[in-house]
Amino acid sequence: MDHPTTHPKDVYEHAHEHEHAELGFWRKYVFSVDHKVIGIQYAVTGLLFLLFGFTLMMIMRWQMAFNGKPIPLIGGLLGMDKAPGGIMLPEFYNQLGAMHGTIMVFMGVVPLAVGGFGNFVLPLQIGAPDMAFPKINMMSYWSYFLGGVIMLSSFFVTGGAAMSGWTSYAPLSIVTQPGQLGQTIWLLGMIFLITSSLLGSLNFIVTTVQLRAKGLSWMRLPFFVWAQFVTSFLLLLAFPPLEAAGVLQLMDRLAGTSFFMPSGLVVSGKVLANSGQGNPLLWQHLFWFLAHPEVYVLILPAMGIVSEVIANNTRKPLWGYKALVYSVVFLGFMSFIVWAHHMFMTGMGTTMSAFFQTTTMIISIPSVVILTALLLSLWGASIRFTTPMLFALAFLPMFGIGGLTGLPLGLAPSDIHLHDTYYVIGHFHYVVAPGTIFALFAGIYYWFPKATGRKMNDTLGWVHFWGSFITINLVFFPMFIEGLAGMNRRMYDGGTLYQHNAAVLHWNVVQGYASWALGLFQIPFIINFFSSIKWGKAVDKNPWEATTLEWAAPSPPGHGNFLTEPIVYRGPYEYSVPGAPRDFSPQFEPEKA
């Protein structure tokens, strides 16, 4: 099947000759090796998991707003081991919490942002016919799918799902009630999810290095590609320690080892019989070594998407392209040496605390540079308020709030007061929810026409945007107030146990209603997404009048993507070039003589 020569010229010259026998349904839509199909598989699966993880939170919000009251509608369906009489048990609350985090991060956002957008857009944006390793790409999706199924199955086993937070700290995650299988299944699921990421990241890096079209030098790449490229290095090098740690925790749970189990542990009045001499902090180090770079995996693709949408809808080049590139590379590197700012309260001494505090403050600099460059890109622009642009614009102040609220957490002295409070939850949700997820919505509205040949409906998009924007702020902003008052996170009763929370408890009710309203406002999006596939306004190759390479391919692109070999003549954001015939000069169009 392989040809002896693989020069790009041959790829396109032989494209017509090399007609495959028509692939059957299974090879074309299910076990496809085409990056576009795989990208859509990742995106749809990721969106479904996002919805599921969101639903878990909506149920948690009920318990926090109305402590001890039976859950409406579904309360009766949950069963005696989770919610007898419809009233949530604390164990079930903990399961919801742990799985909400796990599902959103590992099964929702990253698969959509990296697996979905990365797979679909990146080869197109660099003018490649597919990813470097299409079969490995397919394996990466199915590994993710399998990991997701394993994770979901944990709800149905004895003892229910994992309930030690998405962070699975030892020794809590190891000392189990007899037969509590959920945490073990969590660990197995993570192994599949991590394998998927490793295979994917390898593919992205090789593809970007090797398959760029003629004329597409590194500094002519769209910022989206740079963002995905750096993200891939983060995934490649930061995930393996967590994979190792997962195996170690499995051994502690199943083989009686004591990697993370200290000596002399007493559980339920009994001294444990293991060898002891393990270190719970070791788990934290190995976990956060990944989990800190992981948060940059969550934000970088979003910054990439927002950059594309902003450049396109301001009809101007991005401000500070070089600064953006250097910042994202520096950010990626720094992300590996800040992790213990999650561990300021573990008894770490002042030397190491100062070290991590310093690196954490330094890493805020490239973040600010990137945000500033995007903001300055708006200056003097002719802004088109398309649906993707609404979400991209909202990303900017939302990420700003998220980033700024990270500062008192990254400074050890203030973190003493704020650690493990709702302030932390408010901080990271601002970055991921009205931050990343809004950027992902922008991306969906923006690239939907490329994937389907049709545009999504703008009215439904407008309703989706404004409804989500208002309600999402009502969910997350009060968390700063609650956190500053000292309300602890992961409290099953919504904080009613502690007197110091009394003044802020009412916010739980506000957040409850806001979260359910936020859920309702996703309905116009879901309807829009599916109905537009069939009935959306038909468009041709470049409906947004954009400059990057993906808009040279047909909508949707066929097998091999481009009809003729794409060649790049200029940078990625040549909008409103003085003297040019139109307000945009695509990368792929030669100079008119």
Partner: protein, 194 residues
């Protein structure tokens, strides 16, 4: 549809796709084993006493010699292909495979010796990290044997249709194998000697 640079090297990077791919994979493996070495450091410095003499140094040394030799035969297996000697290549690849198998047999003896005394990974943090490190390493040896077995078996057909691509794949297999040897070069002194 063909992907460019699967066999031929891209001029500006000087790389074929698979070469970069395998090195990146090895980079991730460095971090995987790195986490376990870091675990070793933390557990050992946190322990009051660290066992000595629980492992058979001579068997470990023999295994080290076996693995180093297999690295030599592996690179010879690739070099034979570069010199268009398919027969020699197959011989060297087979010897590599056999050496790997002997390594695993030795490890089996070592493991059963411990388990026979009821001393599994639960017995001490030393044995816990010993079994995990050598176990993960052993799984990597097994994986390498599977790949080599494939290239000795059905995969060898590629030599007839695309000898350059076959040579590259053997080179990549070799890179993986040398990495597995490299890990053992550190494992042996750390676990058996120190």
């Amino acid at each position: 549809m063909n992907i460019p640079y699967t066999v031929e090297e891209r001029p500006d990077t000087g790389l074929a796709n698979g070469k970069l791919g395998i090195w990146l994979f090895l980079a991730s493996e460095v971090m995987l084993f790195g986490a376990l070495f870091s675990t070793y450091i933390i557990l050992r410095t946190g322990a009051e006493e660290w066992p000595h003499g629980e492992l058979n140094i001579w068997l470990g040394a023999v295994n080290t010699v076996i693995l180093i030799s297999s690295s030599v035969t592996m690179v010879m297996a690739w070099a034979s292909l570069k010199m268009h000697n398919f027969g020699k290549h197959r011989l060297y690849l087979l010897v590599t495979w056999l050496l790997a198998a002997i390594f695993l047999v030795n490890k089996y003896f070592e493991y059963s010796d411990h388990f026979g005394k009821g001393e599994g990974p639960w017995h001490s943090t030393f044995l816990a990290i010993y079994f995990t490190l050598t176990g993960l390493h052993g799984i990597h040896i097994l994986g390498g044997m599977v790949v080599m077995g494939y290239f000795l078996g059905p995969g060898a057909k590629l030599w007839k249709t695309n000898p350059d691509q076959f040579t590259n794949r053997i080179e990549y297999t070799g890179l993986y194998w040398h990495f597995v040897d490299l890990v053992w070069i550190f494992l042996f002194p750390v676990l058996y000697l120190l």
